[in-house]
């Protein structure tokens, strides 16, 4: 009986004593911890030495930390990604061949706030470091081309990056085609759609796929909005008035039915006849602002 009592006392004491006390301590120290969010060691070279030869595993730990940091900021809609560049630098100094860190890290750095750090310049620098450490990785050239095209709008450098990447062993044939297309057509929407489609098709990672899908939907919405604005203009010419809703366009016979965006929500018209997304539509309106013209 006494043994049972003792055995029962352990979980009871733990649940009733230790756990609540820890919760209370957490509540008191959480604010302090938030303020102290910083990296104790910022030198990758020092960390490499201190790892006693296990730097590869430590790189995985820092990469996971970078992913968690980015995820936490993004979920919390916090636009300040102060530690992101340092975490990525530590990760790739510990393991310069961790290609996944360069590829995703560049996305984290380049995306505009609050989706990322809004530092495409750092992202390009980071990818260049990755290429220097892994010259045979054609995908890093593709990422660099994408970065120059989408975030930095430097179409000449984007074309150069795709062309250089196409010369690497195992490079996909579309790299050369992409280089030619960007050189010829610059930042057209069709080129953007092609790039995002290629990214969507070529990755197995659900995060990248979702991001590419969101951008493709936005580009489609943008295309629809342009078409609708043309129809609004036609309405204005024909009736010498501005339509107040999409229904006016349907009733005038200019549209067969009320059009919906790629997420299935109806388009709306603003007071001046400008096309708007439905307030409930999940299509990322913040991406629309960063599209190349």
């Amino acid at each position: 009986m006494q043994i049972w009592l003792r055995a029962l006392a352990v979980p009871v004491l733990f649940a009733g004593g230790v756990a609540p006390l820890q919760t209370r301590i957490d509540a008191q120290t959480q604010s302090v911890a938030r303020e102290e969010e910083e990296l104790l060691l910022r030198s990758g070279r020092l960390l490499r030495k201190l790892s006693l030869g296990y730097e590869s595993l430590l790189a995985d730990v820092y990469w996971t930390r970078a992913v968690q940091y980015y995820g936490r900021k993004r979920v919390g809609h916090d636009p300040h990604f102060d530690l992101l560049a340092s975490l990525l630098d530590l990760t790739t100094t510990l393991d310069p061949h961790l290609v996944v860190a360069y590829r995703f890290g560049a996305i984290f750095l380049a995306e505009p706030p609050p989706r990322g750090a809004g530092r495409p310049d750092l992202a390009a620098e980071f990818i260049h470091r990755g290429i220097a450490a892994n010259p045979d990785q054609w995908r890093l050239w593709a990422d660099l081309g994408f970065l120059y095209y989408w975030d930095l709008k430097d179409y000449a450098k984007a074309a150069d990056a795709y062309l250089e990447g196409s010369r690497q062993p195992g490079a996909h044939p579309w790299m050369k085609a992409m280089a030619a297309r960007i050189a010829q057509q610059g930042g057209s929407r069709q080129t953007s759609q092609l790039l995002w489609s290629e990214l969507y098709d070529s990755t197995a990672d659900p995060n990248i796929r979702r991001n590419a899908f969101e951008h493709l939907q936005t580009l489609k919405a943008e295309e629809d909005a342009e078409q609708l604005e043309k129809i609004v203009h036609e309405y204005q010419v024909r009736f010498a008035a501005t339509p107040t809703s999409v229904g006016d366009l349907v009733r005038a016979g200019l549209l067969p039915s009320s059009p919906v965006d790629p997420a299935g929500y109806p388009y709306l018209l603003g007071p001046g006849g400008n096309v708007l997304l439905h307030p409930s539509s999940p299509i990322a309106s913040d991406i629309l602002g960063s599209r190349p013209r």
């Binding site: 030869g53 296990y54 730097e55 595993l57 995985d60 992913v67 061949h97 996944v100 990672d205």
Partner: protein
């Protein structure tokens, strides 16, 4: 040689009786946790983490075993006076020493092999088929084996003339020093002093260079390890172990056991 074999088998049995191989349960749990969890908390490194974590665990657990069992191998026999009874039989001191060394190596080999199988199973679990590039994982395991063999020899050497506590400190100190040999040499050169430069150079060649045996990163990225490096590392470890064991045999042979 038969006597050495008998000592080796008994050393292995003793380690198994001491439940040394229980660490395999910890390793199995670690591998399962890594295989299941990493995909949830990180991006794109499931395979890398399993290889890195698996090889690091093989190395760290092996090192702990080599040091903490190795430092007591000879000392315990001397302390409990069982060595006297053993040496009254037709066995020479160096044979006893070699048997002890071989016994611990056998324990480490069994442990490392089972851990490698566990690593392979975890890799299969995360949906991976094996390719030629995975041969580098086996090379990394082989290098860890060489490293452990060298550490065991060092622990055994200290065990011949020092207490287990001090032997563990010496062995671990030499291990850490051995990881930093290249830095010791460059530090000597950086001072600008010819004497310190020369000392750095001497230490570079004198200390066991454990950095040679680090192929974990290469294995994780599926990069091939040249055959010439495998041969050179094998020769280096063999030569160094031979020197250390000869020194240990000389110390034990000249030691007054009364």
């Amino acid at each position: 040689m038969t006597m050495s074999l008998a000592v080796a088998i008994n050393t292995f049995r003793e380690a198994v009786r001491d439940r040394v191989l229980y660490n395999l349960i910890f390793f199995a749990l670690l591998m399962i946790a890594a295989a299941v969890l990493v995909g949830q908390i990180s991006i794109g490194i499931e395979r890398l983490v399993i290889i890195n974590l698996g090889l690091t665990a093989i190395s760290v657990v092996g090192l702990a075993m080599a040091v903490f069992i190795g430092v007591g191998l000879v000392y315990k026999e001397m302390d409990k006076r069982t060595l006297d009874a053993l040496l009254s039989k037709p066995i020479r001191r160096w044979e006893f020493l070699f048997g002890k060394y071989a016994g611990l190596l056998l324990t480490l080999a069994v442990n490392t092999t089972l851990m490698t199988l566990g690593l392979g199973t975890a890799l299969c679990y995360v949906g991976r088929t094996f390719s030629r590039a995975d041969a580098s994982i086996l090379v990394a395991v082989y290098f860890i084996g060489l490293e452990l063999a060298l550490v065991t020899a060092l622990a055994l050497l200290f065990s011949c003339f020092s207490t287990p506590m001090l032997s563990a400190v010496f062995t671990l100190g030499l291990y850490v020093g051995g990881v930093f040999t290249a830095d010791i040499r460059s530090l000597g050169a950086m001072t600008g002093s010819p004497a310190l430069g020369a000392m750095g150079k001497v230490l570079y060649y004198l200390l066991p260079n454990f950095h040679n045996f680090n192929a974990i990163a290469l294995a994780a990225h599926g990069r091939a390890v040249p055959m010439s490096l495998i041969a050179a590392n094998t020769a280096y470890a063999t030569a160094y172990i031979a020197v250390v064991l000869l020194a240990a045999a000389a110390i034990l042979s000249n030691r007054d056991l009364k």
